[in-house]
């Protein structure tokens, strides 16, 4: 799940991490009001969409740039009016762009230095790790490649947490001056607390800045949340903006389905994440292109299978469908009945290849045979993949 910049700012503020003052506006009037409250004429107006590259983006109405420096509340209002309700196209949005429903009005700070600072969960050590660098404002992968000696790593004890001395050591290593050590250490501690208490897998602040006035601030933050922990953070779960997501994925999540949309033309319905990935791989191996990842899981009901199948059919790019089930907990007859129900409701527009194996396989095959559905049966995984690739090419 991704969140907007203004939501990230609110989350940081909640944990006491210093960021430039600012608030989000839904109308041009609100934008002007917020600018007035901020009490300065050095302001920035930022379009709120999930995609990167906003500054260099262009609006469908011709207005250039999703990030603007402005010098007065009146100008903030003017710029906000040109952004709100308009579609912003950046190198990450694709040609369709994203509609801007909110803008962030914030104090624009003069930057003295830029730092990279991230807290992440290190899989190798099963512990949190702080990764920081004096080379802020650029992608950390680039720094890692060009000057790896400029990246510092501070491992954190998973039970004790981040110790205060570690924050001071990091501040020193990152070249903060003596009078900046305390605010820097305080910001690092707050970022670590945000990471742990929000169940993140990563909090990346790039850049973390020192302003010309000597303040130490988190200027931009990117969060990765642990989906498994969202149940205990309803306030974070509520930050989800479905308008920013693939509509197919939004529909799938309503039915508790594990679905990821891709741009190929062979839809697949599989049980188990590993087998679902492997099914995509084998489709590709035989020259096809998968339209999605879909794991119906072990405990899916007949209704969920029906909804999953409807979702696959509704994708206009899909030229053929592969159902690959190895029944364990999932019973093959449940899958078969779910498919039959779905096809009853919506006519089957494309060829369907079915490979069933495992628990209740005979009952499943019998149900499909009796239903009179035009199904291409497959003996094993390789056979199924080859048949569906052929079918998608219009040869069956």
């Amino acid at each position: 799940m991704n969140i907007h910049e203004y939501q990230a700012k609110e989350l940081l503020q909640k944990f006491g991490a210093a960021t430039p003052a600012g608030k989000v506006a839904g109308t041009a009037e609100e934008a002007e009001q917020i600018a007035r409250e901020l009490g300065t004429n050095a302001l920035v107006v930022k379009a709120q969409v999930h995609a990167g590259g906003r500054g260099k983006g262009t609006f469908a109405n011709g207005f250039k740039g999703g990030v603007h420096l402005v010098k007065s509340p009146a100008e903030a209002r003017e710029v906000a009016a040109k952004m709100l309700g308009q579609t912003l196209v950046t190198h990450q949005t694709g040609a369709a762009g994203r509609v801007v429903n909110k803008v962030l009005i914030a104090v624009s700070v003069e930057i003295e230095r830029e730092i990279y600072f991230a807290v992440l969960l290190d899989r190798a050590t099963a512990a949190p790790l702080i990764v920081a660098s004096t080379e802020g404002g650029v992608e950390i992968e680039t720094v890692a490649e060009k000057s790896p000696e400029k990246i510092m790593r501070e491992p954190i004890d998973p039970l004790a947490g981040l110790r205060p001395f570690q924050t001071r050591k990091l501040a020193k290593q990152l070249g903060f001056k003596s009078d900046q050590i305390k605010p820097a250490a305080k910001l690092f501690a707050a970022l670590y607390r945000t990471f742990i208490e929000s169940d993140c897998s990563m909090v990346e602040v790039n850049p973390l800045v020192v302003t010309k006035k000597g303040e130490v601030l988190a200027l931009d933050a990117k969060f990765n949340f642990d989906d498994n922990a969202l149940y205990r953070h309803p306030e974070i779960a509520a930050m989800r903006d479905t308008a920013e997501e693939d509509p197919r994925e939004v529909e799938a999540s309503k039915h508790g389905l594990n679905y990821i949309g891709l741009d190929g033309n062979i839809a697949c319905l599989v049980n188990g994440a590993g087998l679902a990935m492997a099914t995509m791989d084998i489709i590709k191996f035989y020259g096809g292109s998968p339209a999605n990842f879909l794991d119906v899981g072990g405990g899916a009901t007949e209704e969920q299978v029906t909804e999953a199948f409807k979702l696959l059919i509704s994708d206009e790019n899909v030229k053929a469908i592969l159902v690959n089930i190895f029944g364990g907990i999932m019973k093959c007859d449940i899958i078969a009945q779910g498919i039959i129900n779905a096809v009853k409701a919506v006519k089957l527009p494309v060829p369907l290849v079915v490979r069933l194996e495992g628990t209740n396989v005979d009952a499943g095959k019998k149900l499909i045979a009796q239903s009179g559905l035009a199904v291409i049966a497959a003996d094993d995984l390789a056979d199924a993949a080859q048949k569906v690739v052929k079918a998608a090419e219009g040869k069956s």
Binding site: A126, D157, D227, A229, V270, G274, M277, G358, A385
Partner: protein, 293 residues
């Protein structure tokens, strides 16, 4: 011989009175697994299937029955605590089937287990089976056959696929271990490889991995220097888009790390035969075994 579990295993089922726990406990018993205890807090004193005593705590179950392995079918919110409860009771092997445990909870569990004697398998895994002797978990028993191939995997159904290919071709399995699809888990690929390497009955291994992390690379490096037994592998997720979690919480390529291509390269560099597709996992191993004869 086999690894970790066999006909002498005395199993405790945590969450035995729940719907999933009850269903699978029964399936395991039908397979022949010796289920000696169940645990559900507040339901102590009951009998499961008129046979297995239910206790309020694992501690009590261990005292009363001498159970040495425990399997968890408890909801995600309580699973981390349940694992530690079993470890505290002195159970040798804890198997956590539960999916969806917050990763920070698992991070703490792993840190608290450091230095303890208990093994953890999972979470988010199908379990472990020694065919013909003991099935602990949610895998369909009938696809397995006793034999000499050790199977290690991060994925449930992909394991069934490999096992079924082996069985259909007449090759049985010594033990199959599903280590789970989470980013922080108990037993790693390498831990399992070492166990199979030391097991005289295991003649060969299939190692099934997927995108994310570096556990497969770690196992590959060790195999290169220490393992004489034939090993075949498959890595799922070559077509997965970067930055997306592919169903399993641990299956994600981030910052260009944990790609299928990188893992396959590391495995091949260690002299391990890597199957081109999931349909040829058993054939790849059989070819390697025959090549060594």
């Amino acid at each position: 011989m086999s690894v970790l579990v066999d006909k002498n295993t005395r199993l405790c089922v945590q969450g035995i009175t729940g719907s999933a726990g009850g269903f699978h406990a029964k399936q395991c018993m039908e397979y022949g697994t010796n289920v000696v205890a169940g645990v559900t807090p507040g339901k102590g004193g009951q009998k499961f299937e008129n046979k297995v005593p239910v206790f309020d705590t694992v501690w009590e179950a261990r005292q009363a029955t001498g159970c040495n392995v425990s399997v968890l079918f408890v909801p995600a919110a309580g699973a981390a605590d349940g694992i530690l409860e079993a470890v505290d009771a002195g159970v040798e092997l804890v198997i956590c089937i539960t999916e969806g445990i917050p990763v920070i909870d698992m991070m703490r569990v792993k840190a608290e287990m450091a230095g303890k004697k208990s093994w953890l398998i999972g979470p988010n895994c199908p379990g472990i089976i020694t065919p013909g002797e003991c099935k602990i978990g949610i895998m369909p028993g009938y696809i397995h056959k006793p034999g000499g191939v050790g199977v290690i995997s991060r994925s449930g159904t992909l394991t069934y696929e490999a096992v079924w290919q082996l069985t259909s071709r007449g090759y049985g399995q010594s033990t199959c271990i599903g280590i789970g699809g989470d980013p922080i888990n108990g037993m790693s690929h390498l831990d399992a490889v070492k166990l199979f390497n030391d097991d005289p009955k295991t003649e060969a291994m299939i190692l099934i991995g997927e995108i994310g992390g570096a556990a497969e690379e770690e196992a590959a490096a060790w195999i290169k220097d220490n393992c004489q037994k034939p090993v075949a592998a498959f890595i799922a997720g070559a077509t997965a888009p970067p930055g997306r979690r592919m169903g399993h919480a641990g299956a994600i390529v981030s910052g260009g790390k944990g790609t299928a291509a990188g893992k396959i390269e590391a495995l091949k560099a260690a002299g391990i035969a890597v199957a081109d597709t999931p349909a040829t996992m058993a054939d790849t191993l059989i070819t390697t075994m025959n090549g060594r004869k």
